[in-house]
């Protein structure tokens, strides 16, 4: 007896006209989609500003493959990440299965039979199941759980529904095909065989199955064509642009801003042409998942900012730009209060599944506002103060050493070579909360016998607040002046307790010629700890640590402060949001001065979170955070239950005095 060939007839039972129609429609849909994508790409090329140099091609390809295989970035939202992973894995398997069928049918290759057929059928069916599971998770999240961060538009669920229809119709089609003869080897097509058995049990004859098979094939082909045609549509396009955006993401540290060349073109995103290619790609790549909104401190305090709206606003502008003649101003598309609510904490960038630089765009829009001259009064006051008094607080710079009353920090002589410069910063010089940190650091440095110098009244603002608020010209002036001062002393290392100064001097000043290394005081203290020079500081009460955005998230330094804290206490508790996922204190991006009203206050939210850990002290590594947390502490029902201190302060408190007695 001759063995039945283990395979199936491709396009069996399907009339030629239907197959031909399918191919015509499929090629038309794919061609149309390709044309639409290319046209969109050409619009993006109208962006005039040169894009940042991307990573080398192999690195980008590796990045895409790693991104799709491991889904690490997407899994930051566990449920959505797993749903997406199942969907992508299932979809990929089904696409590979369809490609196998296409190769078998349209090429001289003949391999789709026997054991390969059996295994391939099983894998494709399992892939289909995984695919459906992922889609159902998405739909459950949207329609049943009603996740708040999702964009509530009817078309947002259309992709999931369309793919679900494709997957289910594919299984039904397979079931109808198997039901016609019900061969035993089709048991490997587990789902199809089960459906065929069900149809058989329900009384479907072979003729009925053939008729249903033809009908389902036509329907399945039609929805597949529709899917191909809709790929360039905004939400669907993330399948193309999302991975591209991730691969082309910036290699800068998260807290480092792009430096525009202040030549003939004014800085800022005044219109679409003043953005770069990547910015416009980001606008298309946005999946509208809302993770940026979810982590945004301004949104949490119910301020007007929703980071996703910024990206989608640019997408809208891009859509309006289709006619090329529309050169409408970009900043006018956004509520100024929304733009000035951003704390530039970078949480949106950190969680974005497709690597969109959200807060970078907000700063670009702020820059455009500054060039237009339409800025809040407080911002203008900060610019004026930075410009005229060299500090954003507007205090006389001759008062810069007021914090050191009673201390004798060594001030650098003119032209003195400096190995280690302790950079106090404006908050450390003028703000009472920051001044206590400066004093603690001086105390530590002196007790450890570190040779260092400070600049005294010659220190000036790094320009960081001005830059985050959009005054790029002023920042660049500050940067050049400071670099000239530091270069004049041949400074080798700058030590600072301000993460904002740290980030600016470490990441942004090198673009203006700075060549010194920069160390944050938490890193310095951890180093001293490793060298055994901070022994005897243990025994502190229950502590929790607040990661400053510009240190933890912006510069990936989350370990050093914890090394010191863990040496001080066994009762170190973490807040729910910590490390790179930390929640902002509300001071960054000039928000210490710009107070945009919300229904809550960012610092109060964070202080409540800190108090919720049961810690008696919340420790931080930033004078701005200290100011804000102190304000948040005052709003607690029991302000006395929580103390706010800088890491340097608690170390200085426990460090034995120079004479050997405990301080």
């Amino acid at each position: 007896m001759m063995e039945v060939e283990v395979t199936r007839e491709i396009f069996g039972n399907i009339p030629t006209w239907l197959v031909s129609s399918f191919y015509v429609l499929a090629f038309t849909a794919c061609g149309g989609a390709a044309v639409a994508l290319v046209r969109r790409s050409r619009v993006r090329h109208l962006a005039r500003r040169p894009a940042e140099t991307p990573a080398p091609l192999p690195a980008r390809l590796t990045s895409i493959v790693g991104y799709l295989i491991f889904h690490k970035q997407l899994r930051r939202d566990r449920f959505a990440g797993i749903a997406h992973l199942l969907t992508v894995y299932g979809f990929t398997i089904l696409i590979i299965g369809t490609s196998i069928v296409f190769l078998e049918h349209q090429t001289p290759l003949h391999f789709f039979f026997g054991n390969f057929y059996r295994v391939a059928s099983l894998i494709i069916d399992l892939g289909g199941l995984v695919f459906i599971a992922g889609l159902l998770m998405f739909l459950w999240r949207r329609h049943v759980r009603r996740a708040e961060q999702l964009l509530q538009a009817w078309w947002m669920a259309s992709l999931a529904w369309l793919l679900l229809v494709i997957a289910i119709s594919g299984f039904l089609l397979e079931g109808a095909r198997i039901a016609t003869t019900l061969p035993d080897f089709e048991r490997w097509s587990a789902v199809g065989y089960a459906l065929a058995l069900a149809l058989h049990t329900a009384g479907f004859s072979a003729q009925d199955a053939l008729a249903w098979h033809r009908l389902l094939w036509g329907f399945h082909a039609l929805v597949c064509v529709l899917f191909f045609a809709l790929i360039p549509w905004p939400f669907f396009a993330h399948m193309v642009y999302g991975a591209a955006s991730w691969a082309a993401r910036s290699r800068r540290p998260l807290a480092q801003l792009r430096t525009p060349q202040l030549t003939d073109t004014a800085p800022g995103a005044a219109n679409l042409q003043s953005l770069d290619w990547n910015d416009l790609l980001h606008a298309d790549a946005c999946t509208t998942c809302g993770r940026c909104n979810e982590v945004c401190p301004a949104a949490a305090a119910n301020k007007p900012l929703r980071p996703r709206a910024i990206v989608l606003g640019i997408r809208e502008a891009l859509a309006d730009f289709g006619g090329v003649t529309d050169r409408s101003e970009l900043p006018e598309r956004f509520d100024p209060a929304a733009l000035w609510s951003c704390t530039t904490c970078g949480a949106c960038n950190e969680v974005c599944p497709v690597g969109i630089d959200v807060y970078g765009k907000i700063v670009e829009l702020r820059r455009a506002r500054v060039e237009q001259g339409s800025i809040p009064e407080q911002a203008e006051a900060v610019f004026e103060a930075t410009s005229s008094a060299f500090n954003p607080f507007g205090k006389s710079n001759s008062q810069r050493m007021a914090w050191a009353h009673g201390l004798k920090p060594p001030i650098a002589e003119p032209d003195e070579e400096i190995e280690l410069l302790y950079w106090i910063g404006c908050a450390g010089s003028f703000d009472p909360d920051g001044q206590s940190v400066s004093r603690a650091m001086i105390s530590i440095l002196d007790r450890l016998g570190i040779r260092y110098r400070i600049l005294g009244c010659r220190e000036r603002c790094t320009g960081e607040p001005a830059r985050r608020m959009g005054e790029e010209g002023l920042f660049q002036q500050c940067a050049r002046d400071n670099i000239a001062t530091l270069s004049g002393h041949g400074v080798k290392t700058v030590l600072t307790h301000c993460p904002h100064c740290f980030n600016t001097m470490k990441n942004e000043y090198p673009e203006f010629g700075a060549s010194f290394s920069v160390e944050h005081h938490t890193q310095f203290l951890a180093r001293m700890m490793a060298e055994g020079r901070l022994d005897g500081i243990e025994g502190h009460d229950r502590l929790t640590y607040h990661d400053p955005c510009y240190l933890g998230r912006g510069n990936a330094e989350t370990e050093a402060p914890r090394i010191v804290i863990q040496a001080m206490t066994d009762a170190h508790v973490e807040m729910p949001r910590h490390g790179r996922e930390s929640f902002c204190c509300g001071a960054g991006g000039g928000s210490l001065w710009l107070d945009i009203a919300g229904s809550d206050r960012i610092e109060n939210i964070r202080a409540r979170e800190a108090a919720g850990t049961g810690a008696k002290t919340v420790v931080t590594g930033c004078p701005f955070c200290k100011v804000m947390l102190e304000a948040g502490r005052q709003a607690l029902p029991d302000p006395g239950s929580l103390a706010v201190k800088d890491l340097a302060e608690i170390v200085a408190e426990r460090l034995p005095a120079l004479d050997g007695s405990s301080s």
Binding site: A266, V370, I375, S387, A389, I411
Partner: protein
């Protein structure tokens, strides 16, 4: 077509040791003029920085302003900085020269069919609106609404056109805190009438008609410091010390010279005195950017830690 002149200047340094900026009223004057009358206005800048600012703010015609000479106008808006060293006298002189009406403390100006509507700030929230025929000179108040911010990028771009701009942000020397003369109001001012110059001089006690018989001190910073100590000691604000006694004879009137052989330590000798008391101006022998800030008294040469900085 309304002929509009705007006079701006960077004015006195800020009451800090920073770099002076354009006063608020000058910005407002420019902003009001451009908002109400368009950018086809004549701007007169008392110094390079003011001209740069005006150009960066969008003014098309920017001229130098000296000795209160400006072209004919229907309305002239003057900022505090634009008044220059003459102060309130400047708008008065302009008004006198051009036979124009004069209004102080103006916070807004608008055009009407019969001339201009001038809104003045009367203080404590009160204001009045005057209907004035041209020509008119208005001094814009510091409380007027600020104009749009002019970015550093635009200022730098404007600097390319004006060579005489002081480059802001590059001043190597912190400034000393300026002393503001206290204006004598009341009976002294009301006694005087006549020309605006006389009135202003009388106000500051600089004219014979003002009845002020005090001696005008002209001299170096050291001479002035000695005079101040002398004054403080004589009036019981500080303890009088023989070595700080001041001989006004050789230092009064023009041509007085500082005494080179006098020691630096003319101020209090206590090491615990506040830093401000030990400040001194930079000596001619010191290079720019060197030994700035407070006087370094009792410095330990090896420590590099002058007490004055603490």
């Amino acid at each position: 077509m309304t002929r509009v002149a705007v006079v701006v200047g960077s004015g006195l340094p800020l009451p800090t040791d920073g770099i002076p900026g354009l006063p608020c009223s000058d910005r407002s004057a420019l902003s009001i003029a451009m908002t109400r009358f368009g950018d086809d206005i004549e701007v007169y800048g008392g110094d390079g920085q003011a001209r740069c600012y005006a150009h960066a703010a969008g003014a098309k015609s920017v001229n130098a302003f000296s000795d209160t000479e400006i072209g004919s106008f229907d309305i002239a808006l003057i900022g505090r900085g634009g008044c220059g060293e003459r102060g309130d006298l400047t708008p008065a002189l302009l008004a006198e020269r051009h036979g124009a009406a004069l209004a102080y403390d103006v916070i807004d100006v608008d055009q009407s069919t019969e001339g201009f509507l001038v809104t003045r700030d009367l203080g404590r929230g009160a204001r009045d609106i005057l209907r004035v025929r041209d020509p008119i000179v208005v001094l814009i108040a510091e409380t007027a609404e600020r104009g749009p911010y002019v970015s550093r990028y635009r200022l730098n771009a404007a600097r390319a056109k004006f060579d005489d701009c002081a480059i802001r942000g590059e001043s190597p020397t912190p400034r000393w805190e300026p002393t503001t003369p206290r204006v004598r109001l009341g009976h002294q001012a009301s006694r005087v009438s006549g020309r605006a110059t006389d009135r202003i001089n009388a106000l500051f006690g600089l004219s014979e008609s003002g009845g002020n018989t005090a001696t005008i001190i002209r001299g170096s910073a050291e001479v002035c410091a000695r005079q101040l100590l002398h004054y403080l000691g004589r009036n019981g604000f500080i303890e009088r010390r023989p070595d700080l006694e001041f001989d006004p004879e050789p230092e009064t009137q023009q041509g007085a010279r500082p005494e080179p052989d006098r020691p630096d330590r003319v101020v209090a000798d206590s090491g615990e005195a506040p830093a401000r008391a030990r400040r001194r101006p930079r000596r001619a022998s010191e290079r720019a950017g060197e030994k700035r800030g407070p006087l370094r008294v009792g410095v330990d040469p090896g420590s590099g830690n002058p007490q004055g900085e603490n």
